[in-house]
């Protein structure tokens, strides 16, 4: 029987000829990625030295640190954390990428998403790198293992394959396709597995859109998502690749625990109704619900495609008085491109509040809501209290729908504006 792309990547990382789902192996991550966050990096740095007597990581070129949360710092304590990270990076010869955008997205821009590579992070949204055929797994505090040992012990995950078919209709985005996958499969369908996405529809979905889909894999229960590289992603990733690796692909006769075929041709814009990331409903059932805040950004959405469609919706329009629309491009490179294309001008003219890239709007550190307020958001998550008061609500939707809703201060179907 054939192998999945995941089995091939982990086989190489474990220096073994063949590994199969269920095998427990010692795999060497090609890249160890983290952003600085209290309780994670600061603890890892301390435990490395105090518990294991390791003053410097071996092979620093495998490591990359990002400063993307708490940017800019608003307390001396936050700046202490960042300073500590910079100093640790300097001492260890590990690059610290600061204020360049949301870390794992920037990691893809910088070539850490090398096709065929195995990467670990503590944050599960690193699955975004699967867009380029990189197996990137969020391991929470187990990340310490990658700092103190060359190899981490991991059970090769099974794979659920989802084939997307058809073409997204106007006003329906990759974001909708992902939440439709959750609606179709359920929030537990891929527990402890890899979600491998393919199908003819991918040809019509941009790299931006594919990053959106992969980034959110955890809400199907998956440990990560991955797509087999194609011409589009190889072109992007190969010229950036940090290590020399042959891309690998799932075999035709690879063994999957399940295969699902999902047609996206007749999909409508959806809304993920709080407080559950699995509660996907058609947006048309929620139009006219009053909303007060809009967030267009995050590692899930906030790329050129998202900003572009929002600008198309808002061009010549004015955001409702009192409505707060925060636009936060996923990276500084994206912001620059959006600026050069005039996208930011359109957004600002309509009344959007555009800021440099940061994770802070997504997790309730900036642009927070008070009790009774409601947001339309392209952020990652809609659980209670994620963007401020536990008595505020977050309705997740695509970027066009966030923009359209900002015009009226009500959940609005974007298709009338495109």
């Amino acid at each position: 029987m054939g192998l999945t792309i995941t089995e091939k990547i982990l086989g190489r990382a474990a220096d073994m000829d063949v590994v199969k789902a269920g095998d427990e192996i010692l795999a060497k991550p090609d890249f160890v990625i983290a952003y600085d966050f209290p309780g994670y990096t600061d603890v890892i740095f301390r435990q490395m030295e105090e518990e294991f007597g390791i003053s410097k990581v071996a092979e620093p070129e495998r490591f990359a640190l990002f400063i993307d949360h708490m940017v800019p710092a608003v307390t001396p304590k936050e700046e202490d954390l960042h300073r500590n990270t910079r100093e640790w990076g300097k001492k260890n010869n590990v690059p610290v990428y600061e204020r360049r955008g949301i870390g794992h997205h920037v990691a893809s821009e910088l070539g850490y998403a090398t096709p065929g590579a195995f990467a670990v992070h503590f944050d599960g949204h690193v699955s975004q790198m699967g867009t380029f055929g990189t197996l990137a797994i969020g391991v929470r505090r187990h990340l310490l293992e990658a700092f103190v040992k060359e190899r981490i012990k991991i059970r090769v995950p099974k794979t659920t394959r989802v084939n997307l078919h058809g073409k997204l209709p106007k006003g329906v985005m990759a974001r909708d396709a992902f939440h439709h996958i959750v609606r179709t499969l359920g929030p537990a369908a891929c527990r402890f597995q890899v979600l491998e996405i393919g199908g003819d529809a991918l040809q019509g979905i941009s790299i931006d859109g594919r990053q959106t889909i992969n980034c959110l894999a955890m809400f199907t229960g998956a440990v990560t998502a991955i797509m087999n590289p194609d011409e589009t992603t190889l072109k992007y990733a190969t010229e950036r690749a940090r290590i020399d690796l042959e891309p690998v692909y799932s075999d035709e006769n690879a063994v999957y625990s399940a295969v699902h075929d999902i047609d996206i041709s007749s999909l409508e814009p959806v809304v993920v109704v709080p407080p559950r990331p699995s509660n996907t409903q058609n947006l048309s059932e929620y139009t006219d619900k009053e909303v007060h805040v809009g967030y267009l950004g995050s590692c899930a959405s906030g790329r050129i495609e998202d900003l572009e469609i929002a600008a198309e919706v808002l061009r010549g329009q004015t955001i409702k008085a009192g409505f707060q629309l925060h636009v936060v491009p996923t990276s500084q490179a994206i912001m620059q491109e959006a600026s050069e294309k005039g996208i930011l001008t359109d957004l600002i003219a309509a009344g959007a509040f555009v800021t440099s890239s940061s994770c802070d709007y997504c997790f309730g550190r900036a642009g927070v809501m008070t009790a009774g307020q409601r947001a339309v958001s392209t952020g990652t998550l809609n659980v209670r209290g994620r963007m401020g008061s536990p008595d505020s609500e977050i309705y997740i939707m695509n970027a066009a729908a966030v923009a359209a809703s900002a015009i009226h201060g009500k959940i609005t179907d974007p298709r009338d504006y495109l």
Binding site: V148, K149, R276, P390
Partner: protein, 166 residues
């Protein structure tokens, strides 16, 4: 085998599928760092008398995909502080699972557990036989074997001990 069998009562049964554990302390309390304070607010919305009834060694019971969402560490820090020795659920969400196993906190994936247990039943988790025993009902249920790394991590009391042993 360093791990001792768990023996305790089913101190609470979370029947909700995809249970978001942050609800145990409430999202507004998720940033509390003082463990006494955290424990004081835990479980209030589920059972105001929980603190008086729970005993060291007691266990929690969960439904399918327990820990779904965006789980944080404080809720289970609070539960351990109140004496909870482990969680038995129909199935777990992987992010939650990884986080708690790294803390050395036993998680037992046991399909069928919800129907096999009433609140306050006396239970035993037998690591050797791979079974959850309901001592009151005199019934047995097999649980899913742990991965080697997970077992070694529980044996070592968590991630740090495990990495020292490796």
């Amino acid at each position: 085998m360093a791990l001792e069998n768990l023996k305790g009562r089913a101190a609470f049964i979370f029947e909700e599928i995809d249970f978001d554990i942050d609800q145990i302390v409430g999202v507004k309390n998720i940033k509390i760092q003082d463990v006494d304070e955290l424990a004081a607010v835990a479980m209030r919305r589920y059972d105001p008398n929980f603190h008086e009834s729970v005993r060291p060694g007691d266990l929690l019971i969960g439904n399918q995909n327990f820990g779904y969402g965006h789980p944080h560490y404080p809720p289970m820090i609070a539960m351990r502080h109140l004496g909870i020795a482990g969680v038995i659920a129909e199935s777990f969400s992987p992010g939650y699972w990884r986080g708690e196993i790294a803390m050395g906190f036993p998680q037992i994936s046991c399909p069928g557990i919800l129907r096999a247990v009433d609140r306050w039943d006396h239970l035993e988790v037998d690591w050797e036989s791979g079974q959850v025993k309901n001592l009151d009902k005199n019934t047995l249920l097999e649980f899913e074997p742990l991965a080697d790394a997970d077992r070694e991590m529980l044996d070592a009391g968590g991630l740090i001990g495990y990495l020292h042993n490796r």
